[in-house]
């Protein structure tokens, strides 16, 4: 039994926004895998919920004419992982969201909820950061597009307003074409876990696979919000692939991250993981792209 004062199933996106405007205390629920836990814990006891579950405007994974990959906010993790467009153009995103919780959670939880929940440990977030994904928000004034890199304000706070809903997550063609990537989630066990650290690395190699044309590094739990390591990325661009590059990237990111100590893991251990995971993810991303470090 959940302590919920109201739950309204919106008829469409406009109806959801109208309902949110009518009740300023209302919060959006989609898959419920975060919201219901907080209701049960008492943090959201007595909540008034507006459900966007199954709304057509928030569902579906498609490619626009300009090649933009559009993922409906209410798409579940398991749909995303198994979708041919994701598997073809952004497999690393499918792999990342396949690390969330367990099969039941992945069948209910949605990418929109994962992002809007605003937490640094969200398994989709660090990968979306590396894609420079764009979030399509819909509110009383219509649609606005917000780059995911501008979305997070602080722990559990985002730029989304109470009366806005997320319609889709969009990845422009230039952001996925020619890249390979790897997401590593570090948890204390291999399933049913929240990341102690999450690291996403995406690379674009030179046509002969010997140099790095572009590098994207995203982290979760390395700071209060999901983040990119742009300085390390910039320094590595154009470099030849060799072992020293791996080590430089490992050291480079240490200057950019800000993990904290908690009872779950110390800052020192998280820093150790930051360095180690970025090296491993980078190596794998390069190898997936046909590059090697043998030379």
């Amino acid at each position: 039994m959940y302590d919920i004062s109201k739950c309204y199933q919106a008829k469409d996106a406009a109806d959801a926004v109208r309902a949110l405007m009518e009740d300023e205390t209302a919060i959006v629920i989609s898959g419920g895998t975060d919201v219901l836990i907080q209701v049960r814990e008492g943090k959201l006891a007595g909540a008034s919920l507006i459900s966007v579950h199954g709304l057509p405007e928030l569902t579906g994974i498609r490619m626009d004419e300009d090649g933009t990959l559009v993922i409906g906010a209410a798409e579940t993790f398991s749909h995303i992982t198994n979708h041919p467009l994701i598997q073809t153009y952004a497999p690393v995103l499918g792999e990342a969201v396949d690390t969330v919780g367990g099969p039941q959670i992945r069948n209910m939880g949605t990418i929109g909820g994962n992002v809007c929940n605003g937490v640094t440990s969200a398994d989709s977030a660090s990968t979306l950061m590396t894609f420079d994904a764009v979030l399509e928000l819909f509110g009383p004034e219509g649609v606005r597009l917000v780059p995911v890199r501008d979305f997070y304000l602080s722990a559990k706070k985002t730029v989304r307003r109470q009366n806005e809903i997320l319609l889709s997550v969009q990845i422009p063609k230039s952001e996925y074409e020619g890249y390979t990537g790897k997401y590593i989630k570090y948890g204390k066990r291999n399933a049913m876990e929240i990341a102690t650290l999450g690291c996403a690395v995406r690379v674009k190699l030179s046509p002969d696979h010997t140099a790095l044309e572009d590098l994207r590094i995203g982290f979760g739990v390395a700071g209060p919000v999901p983040m990119r390591c742009t300085e390390t990325e910039a320094a590595a661009k154009g470099r030849k692939l060799d072992e020293s590059l791996i080590n430089e990237i490992g050291k480079g990111v240490l200057a950019e991250v800000h993990p904290r100590s908690s009872w779950r893991a110390t800052k020192e251990f998280r820093l150790q993981l930051v360095e180690e995971l970025v090296k491993r993810a980078f190596r794998e991303a390069v190898e997936k792209g046909g590059g090697s470090f043998d030379a």
């Binding site: 302590d3 006891a45 204390k188 049913m192 150790q272």
Partner: protein, 762 residues
């Protein structure tokens, strides 16, 4: 037919189809719902309550607080009651307590028309406290300035005991030239049982009695403790135990049944249900004791173990529960597993603190003891440069060993054979060589651990069990056991035993799974690893009596001598030739309805068991350690058990799988953590890291099957042992892989990274 066959569980279909009914399935409509209000401090007093907001919640029927409950302190452990006051369990808690001793102590309870109202009101109960500094460690609790957690125990030492083996003290025994010493501190932390079904019960009054249906391992003990807590006679209480979703010792404590019965009284006998949340189960029921061991050992260069010394401090938490029995048991296994040439000294302290109350959990002190004992053993073998397997074979207790204080012996002995079998399976000799001198970031190792484990609790405690057999008109049997099915397969093996003894086939034996204290014969319940042994004795005794009565009737009916007859496969046959004499079905019908001699054939007997025997075994683990990530992957794991004759080999194997999985969690990830105020941090199944299927390797099981002459069917303990040796085997494998000895459980990433950093590996 009978013992030794891998028969399907008698409850398999019911459990798989959902037909099997558990406490929550049996609840009638219209029960009131109770929620316990838990303290938000760990140490202090409740000064007053403000119930105004809580009482205003629509649907609230009544709120009872610690100011209201009867002044009747009661004990909670599932021990047989002792008629000698000196050996009685400690009575140190009331139904609700003004003196707050743990964070989350039970200080009030809300009864409401529905769950939401109860939850809302419970959140609105306001308590004012007088707060003391929380005592979280034994060091804090034993400090001179510490507050007394229980005023009758100033200094907070619940109990202290010591014993020695050998003619001379340790200090004198080690005054010998050339000895190698190991002197270390090994530590384990609290973990929780995490049985699938949370504690749940409901109570109502009917025909002048309070009827409590509950998920427990020990229905007859629950009945006695309700009587003590409420101050009403045992006969006025009826406890019903249906199928339960696991217990592992947590439900060998009387948890919330007395409060549930009391709340029922408070609303005039109306039905009240009390179901805990998972969070309450983790934070407010029982945990396995955290034990801190200071161990010393001395050995000669040739590998002879000369002397050892143990001091152990057991963190009891806020209430006595099973108390000192745990630390005492831990010291006993340290003594029993190896033989010191000259001297052994053990000293045990059990200390009240403000952590979650520790109670019984699978292995009863021995998982902790095995960890410390087998760390010391390994570290001593390393110190003298001897192969750890060879060192163990040289010094472990041998066939014929008998505990000098308790008189418990190995009536069958397969420990050495278990070690050899396990070593063979894992490829010990080769892998010890292969994995020497590794240098990379990812390294492999193999490790082992052994244990011994007493089957029942005799002579420390009473062992008594009863059984009843009733003949049906068709020659089938009703089988009633006081012993309980708690998921371990008891009903199945009892059915097989009954078939073995009586000659009635399993398909004609109907075991009554539900214990109802108004009907069920007395047994203390499912705990220790006693049921196949002690309750098996009761069953065998009853079965023999039952068969004798049937054969007497057959002798009358067929005019033959009873001693020439026996029963095989539902037929009375000639003992010598096996020639059929009478079908049991026919005979039963006659016995019921005979106009000449009508008799209902039943048998009932109690076995008062005054014997005990050691089971033993070994675990071998192969691990891969990713040093930079501070992660251990278990590649191979084998448990070898010396548990006597197996009643049902397939069920035995399943029992071992479950234990090994539990052992893996203990080794690598499970731990109850608390903040500085004593508030639990890991009171949910996200932060409390039970291993998942994705974390478990294939679990391999072997047996050394030797008939134990004291077991009713050659059997001895298997219930708890599988969970015992895994953690030290994994620790020792990590030591082999990395050269780093981690002396504290679990080997979690945080703890490993610290150890690797100290060792210069990171």
């Amino acid at each position: 037919m009978g013992v030794g066959e891998s028969r399907k569980r008698v409850d398999a279909f019911a459990k798989v189809t959902g037909e099997a009914r558990y406490t929550a399935d049996l609840m009638p409509e219209g029960l009131l719902v109770a929620k316990v209000v838990h303290s938000t401090i760990a140490n202090g007093w409740v000064k007053s309550f403000d119930l105004s907001e809580a009482l205003a919640v629509p649907g609230v029927v009544k709120i009872v607080t610690c100011m209201d409950v009867p002044d009747l302190p009661f004990p909670t452990p599932g021990h047989p009651w002792s008629v000698e006051p000196a050996h009685q369990d400690v009575r140190d808690r009331k139904l609700l307590n003004r003196r707050v001793r743990v964070y989350g102590d039970d200080i009030a309870a809300v009864i409401a028309e529905n769950e939401l109202a109860a939850v809302r009101a419970a959140r609105l109960v306001k308590a004012e406290y007088e707060e003391y500094a929380p005592l979280l460690t034994v060091e804090q609790a034993m400090a001179p300035e510490a507050t007394a957690v229980h005023e009758e125990k100033p200094g907070n030492v619940l109990a202290h005991s010591e014993f020695t083996v050998g003619e001379i003290p340790y200090e004198e025994a080690v005054r010998e030239d050339g000895l190698t010493f190991v002197d270390r501190v090994y530590e384990t932390h609290p973990v929780q049982h995490c049985h699938l079904e949370v504690p749940v019960s409901y109570a109502y009054e009917a025909e002048g009695k309070i009827v409590v249906t509950t998920s427990t391992q020990i229905p007859h003990i629950v009945r006695r403790v309700i009587s003590q807590a409420l101050g009403i006679p045992v006969g006025k209480i009826r406890v019903i135990k249906p199928y339960i979703g696991g217990g592992f010792g947590n439900k060998q404590d009387v948890l919330y049944e007395p409060l549930n019965a009391y709340l029922c009284q408070q609303v005039g006998g109306r039905g009240v249900k009390l179901e805990l949340t998972r969070e309450e189960t983790l934070a407010c029921t029982r945990v396995r004791h955290g034990l801190k061991f200071h161990l010393q050992g001395a050995a000669r260069k040739d590998g002879t173990l000369v002397a050892r010394k143990l001091t152990v401090w057991s963190n009891q938490g806020g209430y006595a529960s099973h108390g000192h029995a745990i630390a005492a048991n831990a010291a006993n296994m340290f003594k029993q597993l190896y033989q010191d040439e000259k001297a052994l000294e053990c000293e045990c302290y059990t200390v009240y603190t403000n952590l979650t109350t520790a109670g019984a959990m699978r292995g009863y002190g021995i998982p902790q003891s095995c960890f410390a004992t087998e760390c010391l053993t390994e570290d001593m073998a390393y110190a003298i440069g001897m192969d750890p397997l060879e060192y163990r074979l040289k010094n472990c207790s041998k066939a014929g060993y008998t505990d000098p204080h308790l008189g418990i012996g190995f009536h069958s002995y397969g420990l050495e054979e278990a070690m050899k079998k396990g070593a063979q399976w894992i490829g010990w000799e080769q892998k010890r060589k292969d994995y020497e001198n590794q240098t990379g970031p990812v390294r492999r190792g193999v490790g082992m651990a052994i244990f011994c484990y007493k089957t029942g609790v005799y002579p420390i405690s009473l062992e008594t069990a009863s059984c009843r057999m009733i003949l049906n008109q068709d020659g089938s049997m009703q089988l009633q056991m006081g012993a309980t099915e708690i998921g371990q397969g008891a009903d199945t093996v009892f059915t097989q035993m009954a078939a073995e003894v009586t000659g009635i086939t399993e398909d004609n034996i109907y075991i009554q799974s539900t214990q109802d204290t108004d009907v069920t014969p007395f047994d203390t319940g499912a705990y220790a690893s006693r049921q196949t042994y002690v309750s098996g004795m009761a069953l065998k005794k009853t079965g023999e009596l039952f068969r004798e009565k049937i054969l007497d009737y057959a002798a009358y009916s067929t005019k033959r001598a009873a001693e020439d007859l026996t029963i095989r496969e539902n037929q009375v046959v000639e003992k010598e030739t096996g020639a059929p004499v009478a079908a049991l079905a026919k005979l039963a019908e006659e016995a019921f309805y005979s106009l000449d001699r009508s008799v209902h054939l039943t048998a009932e007997a109690t076995a008062h068991c005054k014997v005990n025997t050691f089971a033993s075994g070994a675990c071998f683990a192969e691990v891969e350690v990713d040093i930079p990530l501070a992660k251990v992957r278990v590649l191979k794991l084998v448990n070898v058990h010396d548990s006597g004759t197996l009643i049902n080999p397939k069920l035995a194997e399943a029992q071992v799988h479950g234990g090994m999985s539990m052992g893996l969690g203990y080794a690598l990830s499970e731990e109850m953590l608390y903040d500085q105020k004593g508030r639990p941090l890991t009171d949910n199944l996200l932060d409390y890291k039970l291993p998942t299927a994705m974390d478990s390797p294939d679990l391999h099981v072997e047996f050394v099957e030797l008939e134990d002459p004291t077991g009713p069917f050659g059997n001895k303990a298997l219930g708890e042992p599988p969970a015992i040796p895994v953690a030290p085997a994994v620790r020792n494998a990590v030591l082999h892989a990395t050269g780093v000895a981690v002396d504290e459980l679990p080997l979690s990433p945080g703890r490993l990274s610290e150890a690797f950093r100290k060792a210069g590996l990171m």
